[in-house]
Amino acid sequence: MNDTAVTTTPDGRTIGGVLMEMKHITLRFGGVEAIKDISFDIREGEIRAIIGPNGAGKSSMLNIISGFYVPQEGEVWFRGVKRPPMKPFQVAKLGIARTFQNIALFDGMSVLDNVMTGRLTHMSSGLFGQALWWGHAQAEEVENRAKVERIIDFLEIQNIRKTPVARLPYGLKKRVELARALAAEPSLLLLDEPMAGMNVEEKEDMSRFILDVNDEFGTTIALIEHDMGVVMDISDRVVVMDYGKKIGDGTPDEVRANQDVIDAYLGVAHD
């Protein structure tokens, strides 16, 4: 595959050129090397998984992409340009949305308000603009509201729209967090263990939503999961990490056949 090649998946979706590329990323916390010289890319329109055992450095990688962590070495390229160091809010404005491994919702707000915050990057009116152009701000609000309602319908959470999120069960919270990220209409969606802690049925629902999002909106998705099974079913390509190193990268079938990956997952002694 080269950078601009457009490919078609077996199920008929189009995978475009490279959207994001991580080059030789190294991240340290004090003496601990959480990520060691890892490179990989994410192509437009694909579902890209990062898998690996606990502590492998998966979340750290996602945090680098979304600007929460700054790597000591390496480069982050987005849409063919090298990205300067950025704050998380600036990354969000680039059209990169995310969810967190340990759900980060606004507990004091309703589901609807939570999802509305996902539209903040699309609201143009400034402080005084809103006071002076009340009509314009209202029109914008109505438009954003309509988009949010569509996402709420899409994720089948209409019946809890007005519920304060603090009262929701874990599985639904994860879905609301996904809704908020989707509300930003991101070009790249980062999901940190969207299915962790869910029962089988919830996992199936979430898998279906992820596939539908990718299919209907063409959203590029990078997701972390440490359960091999689910991930292999829904992703186009998989990066496998272990102890901060990349030990595999390819289609699910390629990765499944990779001896290093098998060793890591079967718990063969590391040396």
């Binding site: 998380p88 949305a97 967190f100 606004f106 004091g108 509305m116 915050t117 990057t121 609201m123 930003a184």
Partner: protein, 328 residues
């Protein structure tokens, strides 16, 4: 109606209006605490500073005049203008915004992720710095603040109530104005936080920093915004207090009454700040009225703190604060 009852009602009304001022200062505390977890000890001094600046600007006083005169042997005192209060208030608000920006750039930015106690200490430092700075800039004499608010005992209320009960209530027009202004201010703040982009962002930051960042909110912008709003609330409180008892440095001490108000209302609740302010205002006036004579008076100095202490024992989260449930 018996005279004592009527008198008690009058005391209650006066207490409510004193409470409005406590509530205003407490409101400033709550705004900043919610958005940034910082307990801003300097909120009272900000009210004082705002009032000083307003008087200075309106009367065309040369800032740092005394200092300049000492250094350069000049005799600067005033620019010789008197500005209308609207202009003065707008300019002062500008100063408060600049102050908010400076506080963010010089203090908050460098203390992100530090323990709360460090930030609290920083605001104590800020309070004393601003008090000294205000003194240096505008002088330490007591100043009269007149922005043209109605003042004096309301004759209408006096005569009307006299007609009804044979006893005229003494209510200061300024207190009524303060109540109306405070109610307006709170309404505007609520509308702002519910219906504007920045208000929504502010609530998001108050709720969860990480999540707020992930939806594209700049924490630093929100901090400047929140400190500016707190500056605005301080300005309103400063105007009311200044009009009532002159702009003087004891204002920053009176403002510490906001502390028991917060213990009552909870540190994170805007309705709590308002109700707490009113309870303390009424409570201390009634207590002084009924119990004061028995214990030799001056109960207003300590009543609020004792009440807050009792509250701390029985309801540590305050009236409206979120319930504290220990995670185990």
């Amino acid at each position: 109606m018996p005279d004592t009852l009527l008198f008690a009602i009058e005391v209650t009304l006066n207490g409510l209006m004193a409470g409005v001022l406590y509530a205003l200062v407490a409101l400033g505390f709550v705004l900043i605490f919610k958005a940034s977890g910082v307990f801003n000890y300097a909120q009272g001094v900000m009210a004082l500073f705002a009032a000083l600046t307003l008087v200075g600007i309106m009367e065309g006083q040369v800032p740092f005049g005394h200092l300049l005169n000492v250094i350069f042997g000049t005799e600067l005192t005033t620019f010789g203008w008197t500005l209308p209060s609207v202009v003065g208030i707008l300019l002062t608000m500008g100063v408060m915004v600049v102050l908010a920006i400076l506080i963010e750039k010089l203090i908050l930015k460098h203390l992100v992720n530090q323990p709360d106690i460090i930030l609290f200490m920083a605001t104590i430092g800020l309070a004393y710095f601003m008090e000294g700075f205000g003194d240096l800039m505008w002088g330490s004499d007591i100043k009269k603040l007149d922005v043209g608010l109605p003042q004096g005992i309301s004759d209408v209320i006096d005569t009307t109530t006299f007609g009804w009960f044979g006893y005229g209530f003494f209510i200061d027009k300024l207190d009524i104005t303060a109540t109306v202004v405070a109610a307006l201010l709170v309404t505007v703040l609520v509308l702002f936080s519910q219906y504007t982009k920045q208000g929504r962002a502010m609530r998001a930051v108050a709720d969860d920093h990480q999540a707020a960042l992930s939806v594209g909110i700049s924490l630093r912008f929100i901090w400047v915004l929140v400190w500016s709003i707190a500056g605005f609330v301080a300005l309103v409180a400063g105007i009311m207090w200044g009009a009532k008892s002159g702009v003087q440095f004891s204002l920053s001490l009176i403002a510490l009454k906001a502390l028991p108000v917060l213990m009552l209302g909870g540190f994170t609740s805007i309705p709590g700040a308002i109700v707490g302010g009113l309870i303390i205002g009424v409570g201390e006036k009634l207590f002084e009225f009924f119990i004061g004579p028995m214990v030799g008076g001056a109960t207003e100095n300590w009543f609020a703190y004792v009440l807050a202490l009792l509250f701390l024992v029985f309801r540590p989260q305050g009236l409206f604060g979120e319930r504290i449930i220990e995670r185990v």
